[in-house]
Amino acid sequence: MKTEHHIDEFIQRAKETVPNPYLSTRVMAKIEGLEKVERRKSPLWQALALAISIAAAAFLGVSIGNSYVEDGTPERILNINDRQIESLGYYNFDENE
């Protein structure tokens, strides 16, 4: 009987406990904070569009790179004997001797 009374007393004390008067203000602040985070998050379609455009740009770059074909003709090397143009004899002192 005494223990039952103690249980009642224990429950009564818990029932008399009151929450912080600013609890509702705290909850509202938390909800507003969560809403701000939600608003800052970009929607799914935006994230998808960004991912698709990056993939498309990479694919385009690779295909343009692959489409480049080298010219078949070998490089020409200019091999001109310009001895007649330049008066090299002057330097060799051939003509001044």
Binding site: T3, F10, T17
Partner: protein
């Protein structure tokens, strides 16, 4: 303003309406949570989580049951989830409660006895099977009629009566009442 009107206002984005709803129900939520967690600071934290969940899911409330019944369900589930995630902390807190219990009218020995008795009662309530504990807390802390408890727990009134009876017997056994 009725609950239904408040809910319509909340869904249309009126924050003040949610604050009104919260102020209307915060004491009953807090009391129920206290039955589960027993510590004021924890009860405040859980109450806060309950209302955040209510705000996030209020558009899914279809008036199949009364708003208060729906709110009690969220409260009970949030409290049980909190307890599942805080088992270790709770043991430390119950020990701490023994050493920090203070009363001006009692001698230190009486204070210690009182704290120990509270701890035993708390442990006995906490060790009840989940459904029995839910029924017990809603009945004793919130003084809800069996019909309402049955609606919250989605059980028949007879089943709730049995749960309450078993909870009482279990508590008597655990606390050594003949």
């Amino acid at each position: 303003m009725s609950d239904e009107q408040l809910i319509k206002e909340i869904i249309s984005g009126n924050h003040a309406a949610f604050k009104n709803l919260m102020e209307k129900y915060q004491l009953q939520v807090f009391r129920t949570v206290m039955g589960f967690v027993h510590i004021k600071e924890d009860a405040e934290e859980v109450t806060q989580d309950v209302f955040v969940r209510v705000y996030q899911s209020i558009s899914s409330f279809h008036h199949d049951a009364e708003f208060s019944t729906w709110l009690y369900r969220i409260t009970v589930n949030t409290s049980l989830n909190f307890l599942r995630g805080n088992r270790k902390n709770r043991l430390l807190q119950s020990l701490e409660a023994i050493f920090t219990y203070r009363s001006e009218e009692k001698t230190p020995l009486e204070e210690l006895e009182h704290a120990e008795r509270d701890r035993r009662i708390r442990m006995a309530i906490d060790s009840l099977p989940e459904k029995q504990r839910m029924a017990f807390i809603l009945s004793r802390y919130e003084e809800l009629p069996q019909k309402k408890i049955a609606a919250v727990m989605k059980r028949s009134e007879g089943a709730v009566e049995q749960l309450l009876q078993r909870a009482k017997e279990n508590l008597q056994k655990k606390l050594g009442i003949p």
